[in-house]
């Protein structure tokens, strides 16, 4: 087990914190000043516009920073939704043998739906928007989390402390929520980071395909999508949000790996 802070943890943590700060503060500082100003379209990066401008004259620096906000919302939203629903199903399937079969077959069904098609369908029904995207990305992720939670619960429920809790008269809800769930948390947190990272990437893909968020709400994905046609003349439109996206996703994954490697001091041997 590792103690102290490793490089991936510090790097990952710093990048995540900085991005969250951007996501929170960018709208306040910049005030969404990414207005369409045709007179300054397609400017190369320079002193005036650090990251250049796009075909409609919007400042890529401003759009990249404000894009962080929506990408982070998608990431956290998907991770949260997935974890909430996936954990509930996983806990029930793992603890109650009778529910296991039914829940897991349902999860298998859900897993078979392609995320991109679901996004297109949902966009058609609900209209495109941030929440549609979050639901569309979360749906196929839920079974994966449920599966993980189920396997963790199957291990934990065989631990003698669960039998001991039954023996001292604890009710089933208490055992699930106070004994099993807290001990599954470390695995869940690691899973959350991976879901978050992959959701941000998926959102970019969906936006690139034109079924993500609409271009007037910038996200890293749709800023890049907007620059697709002009890639040869204005590569910066794709380059800068692309770099931010890659670094952020890398940071989250590093952080998740570091969390996993760090292990859990509670579950290791005696410190004495």
């Amino acid at each position: 087990m590792k103690r102290g802070y490793s490089f991936p943890m510090v790097f990952g943590g710093t990048v995540i914190a900085a991005t969250l700060l951007c996501a929170l503060l960018a709208p306040m500082i910049l005030g969404y000043s990414d207005d369409i100003v045709m007179t300054r379209s397609m400017r190369a990066p320079g002193a005036e516009y650090w990251f250049g401008t796009d075909n409609l004259g919007r400042d890529i620096f401003v759009r990249t920073l404000s894009g962080a906000r929506n990408s982070v919302i998608v990431g956290i939203g998907v991770a949260g939704l997935t974890l909430l629903i996936g954990t509930a199903f996983g806990l029930l399937a793992g603890y109650f043998n009778r529910l296991d079969g039914a829940i897991m077959r349902m999860m298998d069904g859900l897993m078979a739906i392609p995320g991109v098609l679901l996004a297109i369908a949902l966009a058609a029904i609900l209209g495109s928007g941030l929440y549609t995207v979050v639901i569309a990305i979360a749906a196929p992720e839920i079974p994966r989390t449920a599966r993980l939670v189920r396997s963790v619960v199957l291990t934990i429920r065989e631990m003698p402390f669960v039998a001991a809790a039954i023996s001292v008269g604890s009710s089933t809800p208490k055992i699930l929520l106070r004994h099993i769930l807290p001990n599954a948390m470390p695995a869940l947190m690691v899973q959350a980071t991976f879901v978050c990272a992959s959701a941000i990437l998926t959102e970019a893909v969906l936006s690139f395909l034109g079924v993500g968020t609409s271009p007037d709400i910038p996200s890293w994905g749709n800023v890049m999508a907007g620059g697709r046609q002009f890639f040869r003349v204005a590569p910066w439109v794709i380059l800068f949000p692309g770099i931010f996206l890659s670094i952020f996703v890398l940071a989250i994954n590093l952080f998740g790996d570091a969390l996993r490697e760090r292990g859990d001091p509670m579950l290791s041997g005696r410190r004495a």
Binding site: M159, F161, A164, A165, G169, S171
Partner: protein, 322 residues
């Protein structure tokens, strides 16, 4: 004549394992009075742990009944069963995993107090301190997490938790096997003190015959889900009447290099509880087996008032000849 605290009546427990069945316990009856320590000994797969779990209602028997102070446990469900659990508690083998690693010792000790509604919210802290004191731990241990404790200390906490509901029956499943030799004595002494001080009965499940000899008043020897011999500890150890008991005792290493074993050890392995042999389960390893042994399962018969043996040849073969 005091009434028994625990009575088990023809307990059978089978587990489905794919297409076949694991015959873990195949008809065990026993009864236990306050102040008694019944040791259940036997090798892996003999069903002693499954029996222990059934006695404290952590598992339900396929057939048979467990009565606690005369009340049938199988008749209880839900909240009634949860409340009745205060009367019978289990101590597990590995203290490292029998405490929730994310709970402080105090939280673990408060759990039974809350569930069994013992004391008021306010005086529970006091009761936790009392419990810790009973197992020889200082009050500040209430604030510690299991990973800050040694194995022996964790096992004391587990015993304190079991005592919280003032049980009449404790079932200890290999409570010292996971502990270092030098700290075992602490836990054994603690259990002996509990028995000496109260109206408690203890079922002590172990493969360690030395510890069993020290702590128990009676011994039940199990083989393949059945009791093959049961009786007062001294009698069973000094004059075994079942050939398996003899083989088991002969196999126990004696901590005295000048008295090395001269008898050849029992051959073969304990058989699998999946395919039960017809007749006596021990027949394949028994040096005294005759054809009649394969015919039917030998009954556990009284050979003296306190002593029973499940061997059809127990009358013809004396202890010395075994």
């Amino acid at each position: 004549m005091t009434a028994p605290i625990l009575e088990a009546d023809n307990i059978v427990r089978h587990f489905p394992a794919g297409a076949s069945t694991v015959h873990a316990v195949n008809g065990v009856s026993l009864s236990l009075k306050a102040g008694e320590v019944l040791a259940v000994v036997g090798e892996s797969g003999c069903g002693k742990s499954t029996l222990g779990r059934i006695l404290v209602a952590l598992d339900r028997p396929t057939k048979g009944a467990v009565r606690m102070n005369g009340a049938d446990l199988s008749a209880l469900t839900g909240a009634a069963l949860r409340k009745s659990r205060a009367g019978f508690q289990m101590i597990f083998q590995d203290p490292g995993t029998s405490l929730n690693p994310r709970w402080t010792v105090g939280q673990s000790l408060r759990e039974p107090l809350e569930n069994f509604t013992i004391g008021t919210r306010r005086d529970r802290a006091e009761r936790v301190r009392d419990l810790l004191k009973r197992v020889g731990l200082r009050p500040e241990f209430a604030e510690r997490y299991p990973h800050e404790l040694s194995g022996g200390q964790k096992q004391r906490v587990a015993i304190a938790r079991a005592l919280a509901g003032s049980p009449r029956l404790l079932v200890a499943d290999e409570p010292v096997s996971a502990l270092d030799v030098s700290v075992r004595a602490q836990v054994i002494n603690l259990l002996s003190d509990l028995i000496a001080s109260g109206d408690l009965a203890l079922v002590f499940i172990s493969h360690d015959i030395g510890v069993v000899a020290h702590i128990s008043t009676r011994i039940a020897v199990m083989y393949l889900g059945r009791i093959v011999e049961i009786g007062p500890t001294a009698d069973v150890l000094h004059a075994p009447r079942h050939p398996y008991t003899r083989g088991l005792l002969d196999a126990v290493p004696v901590p005295d290099p000048e008295q090395r074993r001269t008898r050849t050890p029992l051959t073969g392995d304990p058989p699998s509880p999946i395919d039960l042999p017809a007749g006596c389960a021990f027949v394949a390893r028994c040096p005294h087996a005759i054809d009649a042994c394969r015919a039917s399962v030998p009954e556990l018969r009284a050979v003296s008032p306190a002593r029973s043996v499940a061997c059809i040849r127990s009358e013809e073969i004396s202890t010395d000849e075994l």
